[in-house]
Amino acid sequence: MQAQVPILEAVSLVKVFGESTALDGLSFAVAKGESLGLLGVNGAGKTTAMNLLLGLTTPTSGQVRMFGLDLWKHRIEILKKVNFSSAYTNLPSNLLVWQNLVVFAKLYGVRHPKERIEQLLELLDITHLRKSVTGRLSAGESTRVNLAKALLNEPELLLLDEPTASLDPDIADRVRKLLRKLQAETGLSVLYTSHNMRDIEEVCDRLIFLHGGKVLAEGTPGEVHERFNRTSLEDLFIGVARGEVAAIGIQP
């Protein structure tokens, strides 16, 4: 019964902005405990998809279902069990880290905010930043604080839009390992967008290669590049970005 219902279902999502079509009938599902990557070049539609899934933008047509419920009919109920972090949002820069986390813990109705915050600060190795001014953190520190916010409500589904975009390779690597660990320990489902192959290969069980708002390919990281006769995911990515893949005439 419940076990079969995907955590997240995107059904034929279309998003048209004026003249341009950002998403052109995107459909996919995320199963419980699964980590799905949305990979694609700049402008492929990754952020647009993310925003539709979070109810920040309304689709031109199509439907978003989470936990078997329609997003727009059960938005609040759904958002309680979901969380989000992106390189493009911040927590209020003028507050201290703990103040921000307290506010969001209360917003998400976390039962024991103090304990939960301490636990997350420790997990993310940022206990020493508790009293820092949020706006003065380095990119790596602020990514981890954003992640702490995104984990406050013990989400069943975590949506991450380019979470490693502004990180140096060392911190990016740590964030990826941490996500892997979290997934293993909590059975968390993750939807992860990136234009970084490394991210996707390391964090995701399965990926969707998005191009021009459509699914170009879908499968495990290994399957996808092989299917396109490319030596690696990176090689496939470059092919798509330069328009070579279409020229080779490969079909998913």
Partner: protein
């Protein structure tokens, strides 16, 4: 309609942290109102001396008008600036992806408006009483419904300002300060509606704050509680409240459709 006070209090807490961490924010709540009070206060003193009895003592209504105007302005600012704080700090998306209903978000900004009003009002009342012998409580019990109506209208103007800023982006953020002043000339703040040209008077009478300012002058001139004015103010507020809520909701729907919500939040 489902509504969570916990959500509202969490959002208000965010603004309280902001104000207590940055005491400089209180300057805005003290400095500008005080400057206004000094200008109108000394003008009143001057007019009283010049008039040598020609002006009734009710000339103090200029000070009363200034204080009541500021109540409405602070209330509007609470709503509009709180929204801008979230835009400026790129926090808006965090709030919109949290389980926060739109009414709860707006309600939190309204609470911030009331807190700002309370803070400024106390300071202005004390200074006006000690420097100009203007006692705001001389308006008697009518003062409470006056304040309530002005705070309500301030909220609604705030929601209209926020709706405009959402739609037009940060370039339009000065509207947060400008919107109340668009209506000030017509709101009969410092002079009665009767001095306006006949064709402008209907517009003045469509604003919920107009009967409040007219009522204030009546009270300060020794009249009783102007029930008629209060009733008009309340009725007009009901109309404006529905219009402002509709305007806000339509704009929110529009920016969700066009992607402007994300744009204004991440630029």
């Amino acid at each position: 309609m489902p509504f969570s006070f916990n959500t509202v209090s969490a959002l208000v807490l965010r603004y309280l942290f902001l104000y207590t961490r940055h005491p400089v924010r209180f300057v805005e709540l003290i400095f500008w109102p005080l400057v206004d009070l000094l200008v109108w206060g000394f003008l009143t003193v001057y007019l009283q001396k010049q008039g040598a009895g020609a002006f009734p003592t009710a000339i103090t209504f200029l000070i009363g008008a200034m204080i009541l105007w500021d109540v409405m302005f602070r209330s509007q600012q609470g709503v509009a600036i709180s929204f801008l704080e979230d835009v400026w700090t790129r926090n808006l998306l965090n709030v919109f992806v949290a389980p926060v209903r739109t009414v709860e978000y707006v309600a939190a900004t309204c609470v911030v408006g009331v807190l700002r009003v309370a803070f400024t009002l106390v300071i202005l009342a004390v200074v006006a009483a000690s420097a100009y012998q203007f006692n705001i409580t001389s308006m008697g019990l009518a003062l409470l419904p006056f304040l309530a109506n002005l705070i309500l209208f301030g909220w609604f103007l705030g929601m209209i300002s926020t709706g405009l800023i959402m739609r037009w982006g940060q370039a339009a953020e000065s509207l947060a300060w400008a919107v109340p002043f668009f209506i000030q000339p017509l709101a009969a703040v410092f002079y009665p509606v009767s001095v306006l040209p006949a064709w402008l008077q209907p517009i003045a009478h469509a604003l919920p704050c107009t009967p409040v300012f007219e009522g204030m002058r009546a009270v300060l001139s020794g009249g009783g509680i102007p029930w008629g004015s209060l009733q008009s103010a309340l009725l007009l507020n009901l109309v404006w409240g529905s219009l402002a809520a509709t305007f806000f909701a339509l704009n929110l729907r529009h920016v969700r459709k066009t992607g402007l919500l994300v744009k204004v939040a991440t630029q």
